[in-house]
Amino acid sequence: MTTNTLRSVQFSENLSGTPSHSLIHNIDGYGFQRPEGFDFDSYEEFMSSYLTILAKRSARWTSIVRRRGTVSKSAKVKRFCRKGIPAEHRPMVWMNVSGAAQKMRENPGLYAQILKADYDPRLVETVSMDINRTFPENIYFAVSRDRNSLQRPLFNVLVAIGHKNSKVEYCQGMNFVVALMLLVMKNEEKAFWLMDTLINNILPDYYNPDMTAIKVEQEVLGELVRLRDPELHSKIERLEVPWCLVGIKWFLCLFADVLPTETVLRIWDCLFYEGPKILLRVAVTIILINKDKFMRCTNFSEATTVLRNIINDSKSVMDCHAFIQKIFTEPKSFPRAKIKKLRKECITKIR
C-alpha cells in the first residue's frame, strides 16, 4: 500500500456517461460488453425515442441546477429523479439527495486517513479475492495494468468501507455496487461516501453478517406478490421456489449485474432519494411482468431458468423508461406503514 496510490483518483473524461455514444458499439457507454444475443434492433428502436426524452429531461434539470449549482430534496426533485437524472448531473444529484455530500463535507480528509492507516489482513484477503471477479467484461475492470483501470480504486473503496464500518466489513455484492458507483461518479472519494451513506442511512442492516434484513426483505417481497397477485404467488410457492432465494442478488447488488446498466442507474436515481421501497417495487414488478413465464413452468428448474433469464429479456427491462414507469404503476400503492408491518411479521418467519 504505497502512499502515492492513496489520493483519490480523478477519472479522465473518456468514461462517457451518454448512452448515445454506444448505439452501434459492442461496448456500452459505461464500458460494459453487451451480452451475448443482445438485441441491437430493439435497442436502437428504443434509443431513438429515448434520446428525445433524455434531451428534454436534460433541459429541465439544467434549468433547476443552474440556479444554485446543486439540488436539495423537494417534491419537484423527487419527481425529477423518478423521471431520470441526466448522466451529466447524476453524480452531483446522487451525492446531494442521498446525504453523502453533507457527510463528505463534515469529514474532510477522512477517506485518505483511513487508507493511510494499517489494513486488517483478513479484510484485504477477502476483498482482493473479488477484485478480479467484479465486472471482468467491463473494459475498466478487466484485469490489466492500464492506468485507467478501476481495479485499484475498487479495492481502496471496499477496504475503506470495511474499516469504517467494522460491523459490516465486506459482503459479497458490495463489489458490484461500488464498481458501478465508480463508473458513474468518476471519483473515488465520492464513491466511498455514497456507499457509506447507502449502507448506514439508506439500507441500514442490508449488508450485516447475520443477513437477517436481506432475508426479511425477500419474505416481504413474497407477501407483496401475494397481495398483488395471489394466483401467481401460489404458483411460485407450488414450484417450491423459496422467496429467500429469489432476490438475494437483486437486493445485495441493487440490481447491478442483474438488469441492463441504464435500467439499474434509473433505479438508483430513485433509490438514493426514496430508499429500500424502490428495491421492493422493482422486485415485485419483475415478478409480475414475468407472470406468463412463471405460469408456464412445470417445475423448480424451469422457474430458476426464468429468473436467470431476466437480464436477457430485452423487451421488458431494456426500455428503462417504460420499466421505471411500471415500477410505480404495476405494484400499485406501497404505503410505508404497510411495508413496516410486513417486515415485522416476516421477521418471525425466518427465525
Binding site: 478480479n132 438475494i248 423448480f300 428448474s301
Partner: protein, 225 residues
Amino acid sequence: MKDSNSSTKDSHPPNGFARKGSSTSTEVFDNSCKVMLIGDSGSGKTCLLVRFKDGAFLSGSFISTVGIDFRNKVVDVDGTKVKLQIWDTAGQERFRSITKAYYRDANALLLLYDVTNKTSFDNIRAWLAEINEYAQEDVVIMLLGNKADMAAERVIRREEGEKLAKDHNVAFMETSAKTGMNVDLAFMAVARDLKMKKTRKPSDPSFNVAEYVTKEQQTSGCCGS
C-alpha cells in the same frame, strides 16, 4: 469392482429398472437430483460448474457468486437420463446462514477446497460439521481438491486431502476446472449414485461412490500418485 451396470447398454436397463408410471428406460427421471456446490470463497465452485455444464474454462472472465445460482444439466447414465439440478453457492461465510437451510433437500454435496490455499483446506472440517448437522443421512458427499493443475502454487498435498476424506468417510478426488480433470467424473458419480439408489433391488450390491471415484479418477502430474 462392482461393475454390475456397465454390461447393459441395450434398451433393457440393469436390475430390471422400472419406475412407477414409466414404461421405457429412456424416460427422464420424474425427480431430479439436487447437487450443491459448497466450499470457501475462491475455491472454484463456479468454474467447476461451468466446465461441467459448457466444457469451457472461465479464465479471467468469471464473477463472484452472490447468493445462489442455479444450473440444470441432463446426463446419461447407462441409457437412463438423470436430471441434475445444480446449486452454485456463494462461499463467503455469512451466506451460509441462508444456504445451509437447503442442505436438507440435497442429494449430493460437492465440497471444494483450493489446493493452493491452506485456509480453504483448514475450513473443510467446519464445512463437514455443518453438513452433518443439516444434511440428510444418505447424502452423497464428495470432497474435491480443486486447482490441481497449479503444481507450483500447491500447498496441500494430495495425500492430505485423501486422509481427511478417509477420516470423515467421504469420497475424494482432486479436480481441475482448468484442464477438466475429473470434473465430469465428479458429477457423473453423483448421477450414478442417485440412479442406483432409485433402481436398486434389495438383493443387489450397493453402489459405493467413494470406491467408484477411486477407481475411475485420473491423477495430476507425471508422478501424481
